[in-house]
Symmetry: C2
Subunit: 356 residues, 2 copies
């Protein structure tokens, strides 16, 4: 894939929602915004990490906030670019590329919107290889790349440029601003060079999203099993198939937190799965035994269509298959686990990998 | 007064604390910081509004947060200038003058610190003619001057530059950042020209502070009544003399809020005064009858020494005289009252003036 056209957006949205592990926002919203931008400004050039010049000037663009709110407060194309524009103005130098902070329904496609409107190529990579809820939770943090200067913008026209002593402080100040802005805002952060991007980003994310989307679409067309196709491509495993029997969620401190309970179907009949989430699915327990945790990916897919079900879209009665897939291995280092392991999220658990 | 020297700081701090109406921070802290800066960098030139060039480039410098916290977390001289430096960097043009946001123990002297360190003259004026708790509560707001771009800085090295759609949004975002920063931060805001300053600021504030301080000092030396000297100079009135019998205070959403009760002495024996405050004294009731409200100044002075007692320094058993004095008349316009009248602060009261 050398550029992203209108025809690619459905597959990318489908695949990004899988890697979003329940977070990263509603893929339908991301697709609508990206389609609107590509229709107006034309296709977006895609640039691999290998072909990125060392002195390229990248910034990440993302939506910050509670996915439960994003679905009610749709951003405009202009708002998406406002954060990147404010950051570029602060940096006082031109940007050459846009990058993705994370893989997720909205946050894989928001950068497409920014790249289209700003007329810049998009880097085929992201900072996580999945979605995570907080700003400092990107691999560039492990490489000493600073989240700030970062810009934050709301739909009313408010802007802030933050410059903090570390990436945790960037999260803290940006989170408060996001809450003030109505629990949903656009951010632009992690300005870095092409050389830094090549070291620290996860390569090929948008291509992988498009491929996952294509696999799901083709399996459906062939009356094959789309979930199995996803599991095979990601080198993961199937944890559980069941029906959603209970969802408890609350929006606290700008996050969508909660727990979902599933009762087993087919081979899992008689068992129960508990999913714990904070924007993303973080822990999966079958009959009280922890079967998978962050940093590995826990994805909930519609059993028939293979479409990912975000944490905010979980509903009583849905029949889903929960799968696990390995994260970028750098998330399993001591530094990676300190940043985004189960204990950081408040679970007193050792990490449990996707493949046991 | 053509410049502010070490010898002037005591009088300015005393007078500023009177105009601070209980807020604006501990005058002792302001004096310590200013003394340290003047000792290191030399006296600060004072510039009247009349002699300010039309094309002067001013910014206000102030401390934001709960005065109860300021006394525990003393800022450094460097931190004071950090906010002005960040704002100047954002504006991309040099500053020519520093101005005061408000009159108050800390916030009349913090600009002295900034002016000394940056080697800039200080404008003999302020944005309120008193102290108020929120950023938008300055006369420049009534003239359409924008609070933003504004910079905020903490003692750890975190910075933010805000650009908001109106001055209420500046307050909202800066308040959240201040709370994150530990309920006390340095801000720089209301960048304006000399012409705008002449229109919108209250003239002569630092001279008035110094004069009030001198009057109090001289009255004490002559065994005369310092409180009467302050009342006469401000054209105000004495509301009540009494002993503090109860103080209830809490730090909420970054403010020091509370109520104090005084039982009358001398001619007020048998009566009780209730003072309601939110950083500043806002409402004074004698025996249940409202005798004075914002926007006029309600000042609590030690009965013997004439020194102002800030809301955070109020203690059981203190013997004080509560006085009222007229605010700048622009605060009594409908627009001024909408910004800082009793109803804005949540009291369902018409404003009651200092002289009945």
């Amino acid at each position: 894939m050398r550029e992203i056209t209108l025809a690619d957006l459905d597959d990318i949205a489908t695949g990004a929602a899988v890697l979003g592990t329940g977070g990263g926002g509603d893929p339908h919203i991301g697709r609508l915004l990206a389609a609107s931008a590509v229709r107006e400004y034309g296709p977006v050039k895609l640039c691999s990490l290998e072909e990125l010049p060392d002195d390229a000037a990248l910034v990440q663009v993302a939506m910050m906030g509670a996915p439960t709110v994003m679905v009610e407060k749709l951003p405009s194309v202009d708002q998406v670019s406002a954060a990147a524009g404010a950051l570029s103005g602060h940096l006082g130098s031109g940007l050459t590329h846009i990058a993705c902070a994370e893989a997720g329904g909205v946050n894989s496609l928001i950068p497409v919107v920014a790249a289209a409107q700003l007329g810049l190529p998009l880097v085929d990579a992201d900072g996580m290889g999945r979605a995570f809820p907080e700003i400092q939770m990107v691999l560039p943090t492990l490489y000493g790349v600073r989240a700030t200067p970062m810009a934050i913008a709301d739909e009313k026209g408010n802007r802030a440029v933050l410059d903090t002593v570390d990436n945790h402080w960037a999260e803290r100040l940006a989170r408060s601003a996001t809450i003030d802005m109505g629990c949903s805002a656009m951010i632009s952060s992690y300005a870095m060079s092409g050389a830094q991007a090549r070291d620290s980003l996860v390569p090929g994310t948008l291509s992988l999203c498009a491929e996952l989307g294509r696999l799901v679409r083709e399996a459906r067309a062939a009356h094959a099993d789309p979930v199995a196709a996803v599991v095979a491509r990601l080198g993961g495993s199937t944890l559980f198939t069941g029906k959603v029997t209970d969802v408890e969620r609350r929006t606290v401190t700008g996050f969508a937190r909660g727990t979902a309970t599933l009762s087993g179907l087919d081979g899992d009949a008689g068992s129960a799965l508990t999913l714990r989430f904070q924007n993303e699915y973080l822990v999966a327990e079958v009959d009280g035994r922890v079967r998978a945790t962050v940093p590995d990916l826990i994805c909930t897919l519609d059993r028939e269509s293979g479409e990912a079900v975000t944490t905010e879209a979980l509903r009583f009665g849905q029949r889903v298959t929960v799968i696990a897939a390995p994260a970028d291995p750098r998330w399993h280092t001591p530094e990676g686990l300190a940043l985004a392991g189960p204990r950081y999220f408040g679970y007193d658990l050792d990490p449990v990998g996707a493949n046991g």
